[in-house]
Assembly symmetry: C2
Homo-oligomer: 238 residues x 2
């Protein structure tokens, strides 16, 4: 679908594709609970917190709210999910610590080595719904060697709104066809492909919990399928 | 002026501070002239091109024009300066090659080693009037190890407009007092200091040509003065 164009940049989904958000958020919530003497079902709260993510962005995608960065949505959603679980909404330093849990997620084991190889040949950038500070702090902690941070805050739109992808490519001065979207989620890749982006599917079967499994891409629906970032680097001739 | 705050990010001016724009632009213009059999006074055209930079941004800072990225201003200004020198305004591939000369500038010799040391302890980011693509392509070619690209395009304002600095700090979720502006130009540092940023002056006496000299900072007007980025790294305990 992108014949005749040379790929110059790889744009990466991050939560699930680059980092294991679920186990990291459960760890951060549990640690805070222990330090704060709060007992709760932290895996359920982690899943509930993530569950409020799409509805919160949808209000912005639908134009019912102006763009605000993801840290703000995470803060609002955290308070909601705590209250739903019969806990007091966190405030002050507790709120800051918990919201920035998303800045402290660990990458899948292949990520740093794979990105380092891919960076030799391509511009590599997150094209995430996470905001610039979140992406920068995460990269700093986890040694993710991004060339530049793109995505929702730069484009002022949340994926899968077309502007999130188009605004990221445009910031690089590139056509969609010169960019490849890399994600563990087929809906993200479908939205990018619709706009002319090349696509690479890297399934992450442990995203929803060890052994939870991942969808299989329908034949021809994506340009590349790779088991991890090193396999993607092989595939891309790096 | 920033007592009690811990510096978390260093924001760098780029043209003049990180890269030797003048000799790079003269080289790129001369190479193009040779390839295109166009004879002209390339150093004068380089200085004239740069001379149109502030007036072009000033229209935007003053609110007389909406924000457009620097590549666009460079394109318009290049055509103007060519015509002023009695040359045809370049078009097509020639125009693209010449405008992207700004993406292919070389860093001063201390830059890569100094930034690499500073990156261990601080978030390091360009806070330049150059656009995201320009900064990304430049970094890729010159191995500048930025954590994130900030500056005019992210903030949608040109330095020294306060929003260029404030929007860059805010994108990191940081207060101005948690950021240090590093520049070879005292007016850039004055504008940042006015907003609460810490400041480091790194004079680049060869910016306007070998041995042209640099201004001396008035005592107490900046927080740090360092001869190069490695000296700055020493000064910052890296």
């Amino acid at each position: 679908m992108t014949e005749g164009y040379q790929i110059k940049a790889l744009l990466f989904d991050v939560f699930g594709t680059v980092v294991d958000w679920r186990s990291g958020i459960i760890r951060e919530l549990s640690d805070w609970g222990r330090d704060s003497h709060v007992v709760a079902d932290w895996p359920a709260i982690a899943d509930g917190w993530r569950g409020l993510y799409q509805p919160a962005m949808e209000r912005i995608r639908a134009g019912n709210r102006g763009f605000v960065r993801l840290d703000i949505l995470h803060e609002e959603n955290l308070c909601d999910i705590f209250v739903q679980h019969g806990l007091n909404a966190p405030t002050g330093d507790d709120l800051h610590r918990l919201v920035t849990a998303w800045h402290r997620l660990d990458p899948w084991p292949d990520v740093v080595s794979g990105l380092t190889r891919l960076k030799d040949k391509f511009i590599i950038a997150p094209c995430s719904n996470g905001n610039i500070a979140l992406m920068t702090n995460m990269a700093k902690r986890a040694d993710l060697p991004w060339d530049v941070v793109l995505g929702a805050e730069v484009a002022q739109a949340y994926k899968p709104h077309p502007q999130a992808y188009l605004g990221s490519a445009d910031a690089l001065g590139l056509k969609p066809e010169e960019c490849m979207m890399v994600a563990a989620h087929l809906d993200d890749l479908d939205a990018a492909a619709e706009l002319g982006f090349a696509t690479a599917y890297v399934p992450r079967p442990d995203e929803q919990g060890k052994g939870a499994g991942a969808a299989t891409a329908a034949k021809g629906s994506v340009d590349h399928v790779a088991d991890d970032f090193n396999k993607l680097a092989d595939e891309m001739g790096c």
